[in-house]
Amino acid sequence: MSSSPSFSVRGDTSELRSAGPVLYLFGSGLLWLLVGLVFSLVAAVKLQFPTLGAEFAFLSIGRVQGAANASLIYGFAGQAGMALTLWLLARLGERPLPAGGLAIIAVASWNVALTFGVPGILVGQGVAYRWLELPKEVVPLLFLSYITLAVIGTLLFFRRSQKRFSTAQAYLLVALFWFPWAFATGEVTLVYWPVRGVLQAIIAGWYGQAILLGWLTPIALGGLYSILPELSGRASRQPFYEAIGFWTWLILSGWTAGSSLVGGPVPAWIPTLAVASGVLLIIPTVHISLSLHTSPQLRVLLSSPGLFLATFSGISFTISGLATALTSFRCAREVLQHTEFFTGLQQLTFFGFIALALFAGIYVAVPRLLGRKLPFPILSFLHVAGSIFGVGIVVIPLLVGGWCQGWELNSQTPIVTVVQNLKPWLGLHAFGLLVFLGSQFALLANLLVAVGYFLIPFGKPVLDWVLAPNQTAAVHNK
């Protein structure tokens, strides 16, 4: 990978020739993010006002949460993650995406599957395991679409211009392979030919970790490893730490699955292994963090929304890794098991680390693919600030509230009182979701104007006229 920082707005030929599928994936991913956040917000509001909309079965909290999960994981993270993967593999390998038309078809059918699947969850056809909620009728289409894109990504990797490859490419390739394996395992053993009894809970726990730690985390890490050094202008000089982090993460992350089963009705060795590997997770967390954080100059940091987001994403990774390790111990689990604390930790990983890394990817990739900067810096600022504050207000109330909930559940406080005490925290969490959701509209507006520049007839002169004062000012400042 190129070591010199490049701030050119226009991408290389290999990137520009891959622009169609990548932009399509980013765009539809962003729309599913909005859908998922709206569903999350509905579920959070319904916890505050349980009688609101109670006459509609499709608005049951369980179903709305399922729809939110499916939209966020498969709609947003899956698609934006695939966009980041394909763009980086094309860019780092210096080769254009093969079979662009086929990729477009695959993305379209991925979205068709979700468009039928998410309403299917709302009418009660969903599956009762976290992140496997999509009805089984749409799963084959989803799987096929992913495989198509994964094959294209793999071809891209094998056609790279240089024999050597970076840690970023290794992470991205791992993610491409790991999702189909985990997804097939989950669907086959839990949905199509269900295994018996608690085995379902064991495999569902494993699947959850495989999705979050084995699939989405490597994508986000791949993105950060290539975005951070480039934007901050400081190349990572820690190949040894990178390698240790990569391998220990791969080996340990899958084994932490049983941590949700501590004290549960499963053979004791499963939670024991999970506790051990959860504590050991501190090794990859520390090594990856040390090789990731580049301490850029404050001036550079503030001038680049992509770098700002990527830095915060890396910080979230470090915090969530350390918190996972610390809360793996049995004494912590005894208090925190079955509380909102682990929901909060999961959302720190998902929104704070993965989503911010994907946003950072959007801020770097889209201008290069379109050949022009995003039109409104103020919208970029609003989006970045809103997203980062939003993540804080989403996550912190769940962590604190969940902690209190755990202590009270382990006392003789009546459960109704425990939940009443938790309610203000859940309300704050709902407000955080609103902030996070609102700030996404700023990004959407920015992107729509940037893309509209090319797509809408007469869009260019009109937008040039609208943006004229802005650009004149920019020229003036130089």
Partner: protein, 217 residues
């Protein structure tokens, strides 16, 4: 990095290790877990667990489809792993055998409501109060459990007279004169399922506490 093939094999080994350990091996260990055939103190043979009745099994589908698992767990942790038994959510810890007829398993992982593993046992001989499904706030004030009015038929009283099944609702919750709220089949099924929830049967891996021990607590 170089050596793509080596990397690929390494990644495959690292990831498949957890697959063998967390998916394949538990299947080998647990997939043939038998039902337990025991004898109680009175010398009567019993088997545990038993499959649910048709109505309760259909109610389970209603429970699953409404996503009740979002707030209710069905697992009792051991005495040294939490406060579940002291709270009266069960007399013994839950074990793998409790779930062998469940598909999908509804163990849950978040407690915004009470654990339901032994809900039927807590009801005792009482019938399940259907008002609790129609409007939980009428039964437990301040609960955030959502009402399920779509499981009930809000209709005008038939010419033949008020239905014997109609809910007895008082005060502001009472329907207008000439109207009544009658449970649908799904409400009865869900009630039957909740009533069927109990696990206080002795199995070798989790003995029930001796009554004197329980009394001394």
């Amino acid at each position: 990095m170089k050596h793509g093939a080596l990397l690929f094999c390494g990644v495959l080994t690292a990831f498949s290790a957890s697959w063998w350990g967390m998916v394949a091996y538990p299947q080998r260990q647990l997939s043939n877990l038998p039902i337990y055939l025991g004898t109680n103190d009175a010398g009567m043979a019993y088997q545990y667990p038993t499959a649910r009745s048709g109505e309760a099994a259909q109610g389970r589908q209603v429970y699953v489809s409404l996503g009740c698992v979002a707030c209710h767990t069905q697992q009792v942790r051991p005495v040294d792993g939490g406060n579940d038994i002291a709270r009266g959510w069960g007399r013994r810890r839950s074990v793998a055998r409790d779930y062998i007829y469940d598909e999908p398993v509804q163990m849950g992982d978040n407690r915004l409501g009470p654990d339901l593993a032994n809900y039927g046992e807590r009801l005792g001989t009482n019938a399940f109060p259907l008002t609790r499904l129609f409007n939980p706030q009428l039964v437990v004030s301040n609960t955030i459990c959502p009402p399920l009015p779509f499981l009930f038929d809000h209709r005008s009283v038939r010419i033949s007279g008020p239905s014997a099944e109609a809910l007895v609702l008082k005060g502001t919750a009472a329907p207008a004169v000439g109207e009544e709220v009658v449970p649908t089949l799904a409400a009865y099924q869900l009630a039957a399922y909740l009533k069927s929830l109990h696990t206080s049967v002795e199995v070798p891996e989790a003995l029930l506490p001796v009554p004197s021990e329980e009394a001394s607590k």
